[in-house]
């Protein structure tokens, strides 16, 4: 099985190179060509023209765009993400400070969305057409369509300001209490999609002959669902979880802003505002790597879940 997994893993890793090249080129061009001079953005309301010129020279902003891109790529190959214009520190250091917070939030949000989504999907599929089904699918629809910013504010108002059970915002000292509301907010985006996909996929599988056979053997319904139906229904759900990571990444800057969570998303938003190109490029690269790696893991999960795919290879 390990050999089965190694080949696609390697192929995916190689595919990562052109993906990252494409993403970096696109983002570099978009950010650099967009209106705004990083040197001027750095100097506040009163800028000395000599200082603006000096900063432009210092950061090679007066070079042609392709020269700047090639210089950046050259450094990247050597593992150097450059210096932040705004913070005057290595971008790698800036990212390393924030990556743990984002990873923690993304992981917790994924757990929330997968757990809530699967449980709701399975319960709804067990009683299709029932009041419970309508209630859960209604809630799923609400989760999908509610803006992250608004949901975050409402949760903070209810659980932090009115009830006082949880902190309003911040990272605290890394305590779980600070993680709950951001993870719920970010997880809610995706829990609805997983719930709906799990329900429809499970209903399709439950209607198949081998499930009827299992029931005819006298197996209990929970055993039939969990052991026989769910495993086969998981393939499309796992796909959705992988694709849904993109939603989490999109939602991260907003969630991190609402909850003052010191993560990569907030850093990216601030970097764009400050025209801090090296920071923006670094953050986008990290997001791209996370996305590609997550999808690789999803592909590998197919192989683990469904032996037929392994055999087909």
């Amino acid at each position: 099985m390990l050999r089965d997994l190694a080949e696609p893993a390697l192929r995916r890793c190689l595919a990562l190179v052109p993906v990252l090249l494409g993403v970096s080129l696109l983002v570099f061009a978009m950010t650099a060509v967009a209106l705004g001079d990083p040197a001027r953005a750095m100097l506040g309301q009163r800028a000395d023209p000599q200082v603006v010129e000096q900063i432009r020279r210092e950061y090679a902003l007066d070079e042609p765009l392709y020269v700047r891109y090639l210089t950046w790529m050259g450094r990247l190959v050597r593992g150097d993400l450059g210096m932040s214009y705004h913070q005057q520190r290595p971008v790698a250091e800036v990212i390393a400070e924030r990556l743990p917070a984002t990873a923690r939030l993304a992981l917790a949000a994924t757990l929330v969305s997968v757990a809530a989504g699967l449980v709701a999907g399975v319960l709804a599929a067990l009683r299709p057409g029932s009041a419970l089904d309508h209630l859960l699918m209604g809630a799923a629809l609400l989760g999908i369509s509610t803006p992250v910013f608004w949901l975050g504010m409402m949760l903070a108002l209810a659980f932090a300001v009115w009830l006082g059970w949880l902190p309003v915002s911040g990272y605290g000292d890394g305590s779980w209490a600070h993680l709950v509301l951001p993870a719920l907010t970010l997880g809610a985006i995706h829990a609805g999609t997983i719930a709906r996909m799990a329900r429809s996929s499970l209903l399709e599988v439950i209607g198949q002959d081998y499930i009827q056979a299992a029931r005819a053997k006298g197996l209990s319904e929970p055993l039939v669902v969990v052991k026989h139906a769910l495993r086969n229904a998981l393939i499309p759900v796992v796909s959705v979880i992988g694709i849904g990571l993109a939603d989490l990444l999109v939602g991260a800057p907003l969630t991190e802003t609402v909850f003052a969570w010191p993560g990569l998303g907030r850093m990216l938003v601030a970097g764009v505002g400050q025209r801090d190109l090296p920071v923006v490029m670094g953050a986008v690269l990290v997001f791209a790597v996370i996305y590609v790696v997550a999808n690789l893991l999803v592909d590998l999960a197919y192989l683990v879940i469904d032996p037929r795919i392994r055999r087909a290879r």
């Binding site: 967009a34 209106l35 705004g36 001079d37 990083p38 001027r40 953005a41 750095m42 100097l43 506040g44 309301q45 009163r46 800028a47 000395d48 023209p49 000599q50 200082v51 603006v52 000096q54 705004h86 913070q87 005057q88 520190r89 800036v94 400070e97 924030r98 504010m153 903070a156 108002l157 932090a160 300001v161 006082g164 902190p167 309003v168 915002s169 911040g170 990272y171 802003t257 609402v258 909850f259 003052a260 010191p262 993560g263 907030r266 850093m267 601030a270 764009v272 505002g273 400050q274 025209r275």
Partner: protein
Amino acid sequence: MVRVLLVLLAWLLVWTGGVPAQKPGGTLRGVFNSDPPSLDPAQATDTTSSAVIRQLFDTLVELDERLEPRPGLAERWAVSRDQRTYTFTLRPGVKFHNGRTLTAADVKFSFERAARGKRPWVFEKLVGAPAVIKATAREIPGIRVVDPLTVELQLEKPFAPFLYLMAYDASAVVPREDAERLGVAFATRPVGTGAFTLKEWRRDDRVTLEAFKHHFRGRPLLDRVVFRIIPAEITRFNDYKAGTLDVSDIPTGHCRAVKSDPAFKGHVAVWPTLGTHAVRFNVEKPPFNDPRLRLAVAHAIDPSGIVDGLLEGCVIARRGILPPALPGAATGVTGPAFDRARARRLLAEAGMPDGRGLPPITYHYNTSDLNQRIAELLQAQLREVGITLELRRLDWAAHIKVVDEGSATMFRQGWIADYPDPENFLTVLFHSRNIGAAGNTSRYRNAEIDRLLDEADAMAAGPARLKRYQEVEQRLLDDGVWITLYHYSSRALVRPSVKGLERSPLSSAPEFLAPLRKVQLD
């Protein structure tokens, strides 16, 4: 006998707490809306950084709540008869956080270092400073170390607000050995003489300061200050309501509600600051190279919809260009009043009756909910006289680029004074030598105004100087170069338990620039 008893009673009252005792200790929980980019006085350009720098470093001079210069690191100073030489005598025994004693050589080093930094204009008046700013010299000859406790600063020509520059945080004194040893890292590991030291800086999360026990004024009353970094104003408000912040700002659109909410009784503090929100024109380009059109726009705008409607009366109604809180701002100055009939007459005089023949004007503004709503209001008001506005919203970096390079014809751009003097508004914003990024984004050139400003800048402080600025301000308003919409205020929430937090016009919530060494918690 009765008199003796009364004296005894009075003495007892004083002894037992008739006068408030200063209670040291505690942590002040403040908040910023963004992470400070740099804690190096030579590199910072934003108010968030300044708010921390002011606690970590000291300057030769300080400004009190009424913006009067008071002794800081310098215990006294003398000004020469020709107003060009300032001699500062330093306090003896001032300690840096590293334990070394401050000397006049540190002042010279710090100023020359900062002149090569991001706010060189603070030092440009010193003899020989332009060469250091241009990086063609290392030393400023206008700074002379007379002895370890005396430093003499010589100006090219008299400049009345010079003491304000010495109170500005770019003029903070740093120890040479740490600044040179740490280089760029000094921005994250600052060492000063201030009442607080940097204990911890968790990026995008919090900045923690700790009391410096050997501060030259004695140990500050607070043990610690924690500034949380919370970008969303509604989150800051929720944190304040939940009791996790001691000071914060009032979110946009909540001012009236908060002021009338009994839960916030004794918490709300609104005070005028040194800023003006304005609409400017590029006066070099048609159509606003014609003053009649500029004035037509000015007369068509009714700022009461912004002040009373959008901003709930929590800002200062417009007067002139200078904010009323600026010392020396004249009361007699008047700008074009809201008068649609006059606006229509001016349009007709310019050959564009009811706006016929006037192409749609693009109005540029930077992204914010308030700016968006103001732009929509202006669009509706100008439509009434036949002027069509097309709205163009850009984020700050993009906005400032089109404004600086002169490609925006009509745009929003306010101004907040760096120091409390009319020169910092009028000369910076309207002198022809400052065209573009240096401040004069209206690209206004008027030799007579330049001459008046040059004269006023060099005059000794006093009524004659202020009268000269008043004349300039009135002429600029009459020329329709600038339309004031309102003057800024600070809208803060401060817990009643927080005592001694100065509400200076230079200080604006949530980034209080006030000295926190004076703050104590009940």
